[in-house]
């Protein structure tokens, strides 16, 4: 490949050699409005080391960026911090090409990489706290199981004070800029929170524990180098602080009204609820599933205090798009939410009750009976919806846990 793809220097001895995916919008069901990057890093130690690889179609870009610094065949060690295919997709090819002395991963990573790539090469499993000498530098490993796969592992390079943090502290953001201080903080905040909500939320208690471990480990951090999005070199404290906040999921006065509608009746109800919420002092988000994606809803849920979910009834069931988002949110295991359901129907009207059942399974505190309206809502129906919104707003205002 033409040598247009160059490495980007983090320090004199460490380079970013990843790939920029400007066009990806569907990341296994998470809408990535701004594309993404697959980050890989080259450590120019005595034993030249590559940390992670990139998604398979971007192999040539990876190789070109490495070749701008060193002959790829000179790489002696490959570290896999995370086995998922966007980081291991060209690992098998890289091993064949580079013939490294060692490929290392966590205990679970060594197993998972074999299950994914069916390699001939042995993957050396490193333990939590183990250190690997690269000659004049060292890599220290920290297991971070279930953040967000069982294999996930941090690698820390003390000589340059760089934490290679796999998907943690990352975001889906394609940009020509490689560092946090070169990008609008509002974009970093939005995309960082969206990533947390869609990828790490189910494991929030583990995030809290991990931040404690990082704090007490004595690691000093000049750079956090994640596997997606920019490298943190300026606001390291800021992103760590945000992870602490997001993991706790302290609710705010925000109430998210999410709905699927057939003939706009459920939509009229959603809008009336949203008006009631706003009038009652809550921050209302009104999200039609015709235009908002499940991952957009997840972003809004991250700091919400209430989820109000509506669906028309179609053939005795909730609409497929409502089932989609509920299945997704259930998997993300949000906490500290109250909830309610609503919907218009033609003759049977099962959807609101079905939604309430799922909200309860999700351990969401359901505070009202479902509101059901046959066909098009009348004024008194919309008044009931408005009152539901006001009531939820009042409960959010009264709840001392709400920020």
């Amino acid at each position: 490949m033409a040598d247009v793809y160059k490495a980007v220097k983090l320090t004199d001895r460490v380079y970013w050699v990843g790939a920029i995916d400007w066009t990806i919008r569907d990341f296994h069901g998470y809408t990535t409005h701004r594309g993404s990057t697959y980050n890989a890093y080259l450590i120019m130690a005595d034993k030249i080391t590559l940390v992670d690889t990139v998604k398979a179609p971007f192999k040539e870009e990876l190789l070109s960026r490495i070749a701008s610094v060193v002959n790829p065949k000179d790489i002696q060690v490959i570290v896999s911090n995370h086995s998922e295919m966007d980081h291991s997709g060209c690992l098998a090819d890289m091993i064949k090409l580079v013939e490294p002395e060692k490929v290392v991963a966590s205990t679970m990573g060594a197993k998972t990489l074999q299950d994914i790539l069916h390699l001939d090469q042995e993957i050396i499993a490193v333990k939590d706290g183990e250190q690997l000498s690269l000659g004049n530098m060292n890599l220290r490993f920290m297991e971070t199981r279930m953040l967000h796969w069982p294999d996930s592992m941090f690698s820390y390079l003390p000589e340059e004070e760089i934490l290679f943090s796999h998907d943690a502290f990352g975001m889906h953001l394609a940009s020509a800029e490689r560092f946090d201080d070169e990008i609008d903080p509002a974009i970093l905040q939005y995309e960082g929170a969206t990533y947390f909500a869609n990828i790490l939320l189910p494991y929030s208690p583990l995030v809290t524990r991990l931040l404690g471990r990082v704090g007490s480990s004595g690691m000093t951090l000049k750079y956090i180098a994640p596997d997606h999005g920019p490298v943190w070199r300026k606001d390291i404290g800021g992103i760590i602080g945000k992870y602490g906040e997001w993991a706790v999921q302290r609710p705010t006065r925000k109430a998210v009204v999410v709905y699927g509608t057939m003939w706009h009746s459920t939509e009229h109800m959603a809008r009336a609820i949203s008006e009631g919420l706003a009038n009652g002092g809550a921050i209302a988000r009104c999200m039609s599933l015709d235009v908002f994606h499940r991952s957009d809803v997840a972003y809004e849920i991250l700091d919400a205090g209430a989820l109000v979910m509506g669906s028309s009834t179609l053939n005795n069931n909730m609409l497929p798009q409502a089932a989609d988002v509920l299945t997704y949110l259930k998997g993300l295991r949000p906490v500290n939410l109250m909830g309610a359901s609503f919907g218009s129907y033609g003759w049977s009207g099962e959807a609101p009750g079905q939604i309430t059942d799922i909200l309860k399974e999700m351990k969401i505190e359901v505070t009202a009976e479902p509101i059901k309206v046959q066909h098009v809502p009348r004024e008194n129906d919309l008044a009931r919806c408005y009152a539901l919104g006001e009531d939820i707003a009042l409960q959010l205002r009264r709840n001392k846990e709400v920020a």
């Binding site: 279930m146 069982p150 208690p205």
Partner: protein, 52 residues
């Protein structure tokens, strides 16, 4: 009462704490957990657990 650790995610089941979110009262030994109990972190079954 012995603790058990999940082979997949590293979660430790501590009988003294039980698994309140999963409806398991403190004081429940690992052996006494229902067969359909799953790891509260990763969802693996009891067969993935080994004594700590």
């Amino acid at each position: 009462m012995g603790k058990y650790v999940c082979n997949i995610c590293g979660y430790v089941y501590d009988p003294a704490e039980g698994d309140p979110d999963g409806g398991i009262a403190p004081g429940t030994t690992f052996t006494d957990l229902p067969d359909d109990w799953v790891c509260p972190i990763c969802g693996s079954g009891k067969d993935e657990f080994v004594p700590e």
